[in-house]
Symmetry: C2
Subunit: 339 residues, 2 copies
Amino acid sequence: MTKRTDIASLGEFGLIRHLTENIVLKNDSTQKGVGDDAAVLAYTDDKAVLVTTDLLLEGVHFDLMYVPLKHLGYKAAVVNFSDIYAMNGRPKQMTVSLGVSKRFSVEDLEDLYEGLMLACDIYGVDIVGGDTSTSLTGLTISITCVGEAAKERVVYRSGAKDTDLICVSGDLGAAYMGLQLLEREKSVFKGEADFTPDFGGKEYVLERQLKPEARRDIVELLAGAGIRPTAMIDISDGLASELLHLSAESHTGCRIYEERIPIDYQTASLAGQFNMNLTTVALNGGEDYELLFTVPLALHDEVSALSGVKVIGHVTGEALGNFLVGRDGGEVELKAQGW
Amino acid sequence: MTKRTDIASLGEFGLIRHLTENIVLKNDSTQKGVGDDAAVLAYTDDKAVLVTTDLLLEGVHFDLMYVPLKHLGYKAAVVNFSDIYAMNGRPKQMTVSLGVSKRFSVEDLEDLYEGLMLACDIYGVDIVGGDTSTSLTGLTISITCVGEAAKERVVYRSGAKDTDLICVSGDLGAAYMGLQLLEREKSVFKGEADFTPDFGGKEYVLERQLKPEARRDIVELLAGAGIRPTAMIDISDGLASELLHLSAESHTGCRIYEERIPIDYQTASLAGQFNMNLTTVALNGGEDYELLFTVPLALHDEVSALSGVKVIGHVTGEALGNFLVGRDGGEVELKAQGW
């Protein structure tokens, strides 16, 4: 009998590691392959070309019941830009492939493209390739983004060093609470014809979910302050998961402090309403698209002075593991839960 | 009422033209955007970075009933390489995103990756990015390929000139007849438990459908002979469709000669069995992944001497339109039918 191993048994990251672990790189121009936010290609002596790609499937990555197509286009573009910024680069070009079922009209796709193009205008990116094909079910969006960086400015996940400071931009957990809110209203909505959800006072978490931004400003702020992070990653799957990636790639451990995790008051208030543990929301919520990075301890004052950046902990030796230090001083091991 | 235009009313090429026609390029490094086999990026003074992407959906672009996953992986990679060769470039890196439903096992994906990696080994390409996610239905494969070319060697669809010779590599229509054969055996197979299809003497057309190759050899042959085509495109949607793209982008017309279209005897024999017009099969079959290119008339002797290349006609002024000259001397206007 043919052996048949369930995909779920490996998990998403385990599966891709399993499939790609035997890859032997052949080309001089391939500086970094699988395993970071973007691939790094060296086509010139001084500049690196960065490539990242994302596949979004209806019903898995988005729900058109509450996501307008224009917002979806905007977000689909921005999450790719975020991966380029996470390499300390600038996004420059993008290709878009769509699989579209008969359910969608030309006007629907115009809305989607309006969002894609708005994001491209704001972030200075060119759409350089696009194709559409028929799909049997729903909408599939595949985006590849190409960016650039001076070679010596590229920041990998693997550069964190013992005693480095761990920093995070913005605040965490809001996009996840926005999703919870939308899911709740969707289930209330079912069957009611003229239902108008009340989103008053919750605009911030909704915007974080529906129209996230990539942190170009933070990358520019760091450059302006002359700070090159030792390691960086964007927070798409939740702070805990990204910290574990960073530690694994850098062969380090970490201590982060619960009281230092930045959280907006709308996120806190909604977590209360939903009876959710706020720290869990901030650690595992995902889709924040904030930047998580490390800097040498000596830069403590410089990095603390940056607006929108918070020091949340420090890098340790690998043997010390990855822990959250609670408000009571107790330590809890970080696990990548996702949702 | 909201206007709702059926996607089918624009057609695949019309739709993508409609969606992308308002794109204004912003970056100096964007040399060529939407509208050729690959985008051309200028990150250095002497080299061009080429980017092409392809989205393959189960049930639309492939049928796992008769396509083994290893072959599918091989083909998915090769069709992207073909787009890079069509720019007169060399493929160097590739990213792979998969959407996978529960129907698939880890071993299935290993088979798929085996095919992808085999193609990469043969063509000297590195897999530099990969991710997998859950899909609700079937298998989705999104591949982006990055290649390079010396800037002055890049060949666009738009460079054909009046009196240029039109050349094609290999032979046409075989992949399409291979598909017909597989579709027929599939319908015979339905309901029969121990059915073994007889593919004897039809290996060539099956291989053309299941395991196509990209024409690296032709690109190298041309380089070796010091010939830089004036325009080039790969034949994925059928000779007629690609000729019309080339003429439209070059603002030219063409005359090709029915008796000069290269066709393998297995293709001819099967077209007879299936009661199909052989010229129609060769013009509109698709998935040949041969190269269609133009060279100045003065290179007639040089290009005719190349093995595996055939001169099938010549470029004319735009006003003269695009025509097939039949064996009887009659002219038929070329239309992109597809299947």
